[in-house]
Symmetry: C2
Subunit: 111 residues, 2 copies
């Protein structure tokens, strides 16, 4: 059974904003492929460690990622459920479109 999830405007705002940055999307992709520490991630971007840390924090605040302690490092782990919620928001927008197309088709059928 699929539970219909209610997404608040504010949450969708933050979700899309988190996804609207190439570095953050790249961090997401890489942490999906396998858990990586923040410093390991940071090594591959042309910016300071602190900057990458901030990007991870943005992803973490919207739940796209969680951090797991492993010795003295923190592994960044992506959360597929949150990504699904982002998709749901897009789906709802697209659904409005499908509805319109159907209504137009119905009008045409009436003639």
């Amino acid at each position: 059974m699929v539970v219909s999830i209610e997404l608040s405007d504010a949450e969708v705002d933050r979700l899309f904003h988190a996804l609207a940055d190439a570095t953050r999307r790249d961090i997401l992709r890489r942490s999906v492929a396998g858990d990586l520490s923040v410093s390991r991630l940071a090594a591959d971007y042309p910016m300071s460690f602190a900057a990458v840390q901030k990007h991870v924090a943005v992803l973490e605040q919207v739940g796209l990622v969680t951090k797991i302690r492993n010795g003295r490092e923190l592994l960044v782990r992506s959360d597929p459920d949150t990504l699904r919620r982002a998709r749901l928001a897009l789906d709802q927008l697209e659904e409005a479109w499908r509805g319109r197309v159907e209504r137009m088709a119905a009008v045409l059928d009436d003639e």
Copy 2:
């Protein structure tokens, strides 16, 4: 046949950014339901006409919307293709996840 579309990082940045605002998403939904003039749209938001105009401009710049002259007003029309491109970007992120799940399942099968 579905053509695999290449989305540049910059384009996805702008796409998600355009969607990361509740007012803009609402304008999208309303213009999907039926073409509306900018002033008609603006009348229903608690902000100035110029502010709404800017939101429409953001949607227009990323191609989520186009404007069509109708007498002295400009109708805002949504473009479903661009919305689909946004979804494609999300799908590609999700696909990375599916790939991981499959690899993990394969590892488990090997044991």
